[in-house]
Every structure is written in structure tokens, then in C-alpha cells.
Assembly symmetry: D2
């Protein structure tokens, strides 16, 4: 299995990256997956270049992932422009079939709804599937990151297991899966 | 498997109900599930009564479902107050573990984002899992309902299958699944 | 000038009502306005009746207001179904020209974005004008209500004054003000 | 009076820019204002530079405007990452007191809710005041731009006039206008 972390902080090696890494570590079985980390801070000079082989390769890597965590600090109650600029490079449905987890970090709870009301709908618009609420992490809780990320991971794991149960009862897709927008 | 349809139209037996029924029929394997339909138009007199045995029973039925479709006509660009009033009766995380599909019907595409940006986050707030975009159906397309619902169902089936693949690689939840809000 | 408060709490005489009253008192010049309070808890039995003379009169009263405060406790991260059911009774653009302030109360900051991302767009969809952020009040701060509402009122007053400055430079509407949806 | 247009299209001199220009022309009295246009396509190389004198000057110009139009093509149902990256450079409340109009252009009505549910709350988070719905323009209607923008402008003018009426009845701000977040 392949997993990818995309970090939208304009500053490299951020706490937001650490939060996403911990969440993946808690969620997936050790040794069962390949993980790639894309720190968008390393790519700001090319994020608006078009075309760009380097950016295209990064976009493809994420689109081919089974699981992708999109992590951003909270800027103006929402995800960063840097993360959005990366996602803007996809065509319609560019993340079709990817299981995606939206993560925001922030100073306090004021913008705790952000990953659920802003980032999740954006990922879903691209065709990704979001298995539950977005994960919001208060930056001052880094000492408790293991425990908090562990609880979130347990909830995502539980949700995924439930979805797997429903999947077993769906009709064999007589119609080939359409990638056109539902709406 | 148990499936439930909850219809938020104050008028009974609406087209919105028909749209939801067709979506379920296209999504699930025939004969593999029990379906209950809750037409909230039949319960407006008790929707604000507290406590209410009848409403509690309906709430419980939905919460115990494997799959629930929540369908509403578009009122003021969003779900109806009637549907929200039903969902308001749940405690926090009252739909934990339920796979939920948000459906809006509307006159044209103007409010096509509604089920994805309004109803989906509401269901997710209650702990439900939404396997993709919301389904928006233009009411004037009833003659093509079978085909359009079939395409949406195929996309949901495809998404659920992908999620099942990811579920197989999650860690056995060392931490018991927390039902407390992630955020 | 006429001002109206609409409270969406299914329980009458709530703290949410008190919060809205204090906000209006801090915002408007004493003695310069008539205030009517509509506590929707008193009207649950008719909120889904159609037609209803009583509800129509309430709807009209709000639509004719210069200023209306819409106040709701936070239910599932958003406004209540009761408040939405009241607003659903309006035709398109039913609140055209009304200056509207969205107010949510809640237990902590987790859902502080609610009045800005959920209630404000709903009021705007109805043609109302929202002069700034929604006002979110943490219920445990009732002892500091005067001060907190005073600060919010000062910000709204400042915003309204700024808007008045811009209004002076708009073209005489050669086209009669359209009430059809912008979008 | 000063007005500014900020265009978030990564391609310069776009139709989105033309739409915003026409809206301003229809809204404001001829000869009564200075207009500056900031085409962010000209600044992609510095948008993530920190600090940047050039970007700081642009940010300041917009923050000092009486009226600012923020215009973006629809990317993934929302504003572009480029526009968000520009807005991310502001501190909290960086657009306090600015009257701001959100504009999206798009191929059809599917994402017509975008400027109202995505861009408007973002501008409001920064302290700006949005006098009504966002303006969504279907790109194929360029031949009717004058008329469509004229109707939207008339509605904004009408809204601003109403707000001016309310402003006259607000209390002299006993508390100095707070720039701290209401929520």
C-alpha cells in the first residue's frame, strides 16, 4: 500500500508535518506501506509554473496513493493558499479513489471546524473520499500528540472498517465507475 | 444489512423520496438488505416534542443502519429545517459509524454544491462517514433518474471498494475507538 | 427604525435570547427603534403548517425590519432546525434589504466558526446583508456578556459606518434594484 | 474614494479581470474614485517570499481601500490558491473596514455557490464587510456582461443604501472599535 503526506505550510519541516506523520504511523499497520512526504515549502518556486515536470510528478504520486493526508496550518480559518495551489493543478476528479484525511493545526479551538468545512469539501470535490471528520490539532498540545493522534487514528480505522462492511453489499458496478462530477 | 432513507421534505411522498429510493436500489445488491423509509412529512407534529418515544425509535433505527441516505429538497440553498430538526435530536456522535449519503434535489444547478458543502459536513459532525460527493439531482431530469442515479451509485460503490482496501491495512485499534469529536 | 430578534432555540426564554437582546441594546441608539422579539419556541406547533396566518405575520414582521438578529444555540455545529424551518417559509429573496446579524451560542470555541460559515451564508442567500463576522458567544461567559456584546456591537457599528461611506459613492441605480439572485 | 480590484487568476489579463472591472464601473459614480488593479498573475514569483516589500505594498493598498473586489476563476469549486496565498499574507483582521465584493467566474452554474460560501467567509474572516451575495458570472455570458454586472451592481448599491440607513441609528461607539475577532 502507498501513503502520501502533503504539507501545505510555506515553512519547511513544520509541526504540521510532524502531526501528519504521527497520524499515519498510528493509523496504518507497520511495515505494510510505503510513505512519501511532500513538503510543499520545498516547491514554492514552481507551484505556479505551467507545465512543470517536477510538479506533475508530485501530483501523480499523490493521485496514485491509497491513502493521502493533507495537512495545513490554519491560515485565515482555512487551509493555506500553498496547499490550494497544489490541488489546483489537478484536473477534475484528479484525486478519484484516494482515501484522504484533512488535517489542520491551529493555535486554539476557534477554527476547529476548518478541516471539516473547508478542506474536506475541497478534497471531495477532487473525487477523494474522506473517512470522517477532519482532524484539528491544537499546536500547544504537542506533548500529547501521540495520544491525540492515536484516538483520531482509531476513529478513522473504525470508520474504514464500517465502510468495508457496506462495500461488500454493493452491486457489482454494472455501469463503469463514472469519474464525472456527481453534482 | 440494514439501510434507511430519511426524507426531509415537508410534503409526503415527494420526488426527493423517489430519487433516494432509486439511488439505494442501484447501489446495494438486491435481496441483501432491509430497507426502511422515514418520510419526515409524517412526523412534523412530533419533531419538536421532547421526549418522544416515536421520534426516539426513528432516530435509533437510523443510527443502527449500515447505510443511510438523507434526502432533502433544496430550501434556501441548503437542506430543509425539517431534516435538520430530526438530526438535532441526536446526541453528539449519534450517527457514529453509519455510512451516510447526502442527497439534494433542486430546480437547476445553481445550488448543486449544497449536499457537499452543507449536508455532508452536518452528517460528518454527527460521526457518520460520507463516501464521496453529495448527490445533487435536478428535478427536471426525472425521466433520466435511473441512469443518473446509476452513475452516482457506481461511483459510491467504487469509492467504498477503495476504502475497503485501505481498511485492510489499518492497525488493530489499540486504542478503543473514541466517539468523542476529533476536533 | 424597526429591529427584530428571532430566536431559534426550541426552549423558550433561553440564554441565547438574552445574548441577542444585549447585542441589540449595545448596537442601537436608545429610544430610536422599535424592537420585537420572536421566540420560535412559542411557535413549534405551527412552524410546518401551510398556510398559516400567524407564521406569515411573523415572517412579514422580520422582512420589514431594518435590522434583524437571528440567534440560535449551536446544534450539530450549526443553527437549529427550528430556525431553518422559519427561514424556509420565505420565498426567494424574502429578506432582501434587511441588515442581519447571525448569532450562535455554544459551550466552548469548537464551533465558533458556525455563525460565519453556516448562518451568515443562509441569511445572505435570502437577500439579507450581514455587516461582518457572525457573533459567537460562549455560554459560560454570561457574566461578561455586557462587555463582549459591547465589543461586537462596536465592531458592527464601525462596519456599518464604513459601508455608509461607500454607499455615498454608488451610482444612482439606473437599473431598478433586482431582487433576482445574483448567482 | 479608493477602489481596488484583486484578480486571482494565474493567467494575466483574464476575463475574470474584465468581469471585475465592469462590476466596479457599474457600481461606483464615474469620476468619484481612484481604481487600482492588482493582477496577481504578475506576482507569482514573490507571492511566497517573506518578507517582500513589493507584496507588502500591494497588501497595504488593498487594506486602505474603501471598496475592494476580489475576483477569481473557479478552481475546484472555490477561489484559486493564488488568491488565497495573497490573502494569507495579511495579519488577523488585515482587511478590517474594507467593503469587499467576492466574484467567481465559472463555466456553468455547478459552482455558483462558491463566492458566497467560500470566498465571502474568507474575506469576512479578515474583517472585511461583504454587502450581499457573492457575484458568480458564467464565462459564456460575456456578451451580456454589461447587463448582468449592472444588475448585480444595482443590488449591491441598494444593499449599501440600506446599510447606511441602519448606520445612522447605531450608538456612538462608546467602546473603541475592537479589531479582535468577534468569534
Amino acid at each position: 500500500m502507498t501513503a502520501t503526506i502533503v504539507v501545505g505550510n510555506p515553512k519547511p519541516k513544520s509541526r504540521t508535518l510532524k502531526v501528519a506523520e504521527t497520524l499515519v504511523e498510528k493509523l496504518l499497520t507497520h511495515g505494510s506501506y510505503d510513505l512519501e512526504i511532500i513538503d510543499l515549502a520545498d516547491h514554492t518556486s514552481e507551484i505556479f509554473a505551467w507545465p512543470s515536470e517536477r510538479m506533475a510528478a508530485l501530483n501523480a504520486r499523490v493521485a496514485e496513493s491509497d491513502l493521502a493526508v493533507f495537512a495545513s496550518p490554519t491560515y485565515k480559518a482555512s487551509y493555506t493558499g500553498l496547499l490550494k495551489a497544489f490541488l489546483d493543478r489537478y484536473p477534475a476528479n484528479g484525486l478519484a479513489g484516494v482515501t484522504a484525511i484533512p488535517v489542520h493545526t491551529g493555535g486554539d479551538l476557534t477554527h476547529a471546524m476548518g478541516p471539516t468545512v473547508n478542506l474536506a469539501p475541497l478534497l471531495v470535490e477532487l473525487g477523494a473520499i474522506v473517512p470522517g471528520r477532519g482532524f484539528y490539532f491544537v499546536a500547544g498540545q504537542m506533548d500529547h500528540l501521540d495520544q491525540i493522534a492515536g484516538q483520531a487514528a482509531a476513529e478513522y480505522a473504525s470508520n474504514l472498517a464500517r465502510l468495508a462492511g457496506v462495500a461488500a453489499h454493493t452491486r457489482a458496478a454494472a455501469v463503469a465507475p463514472s469519474l464525472s462530477p456527481l453534482a
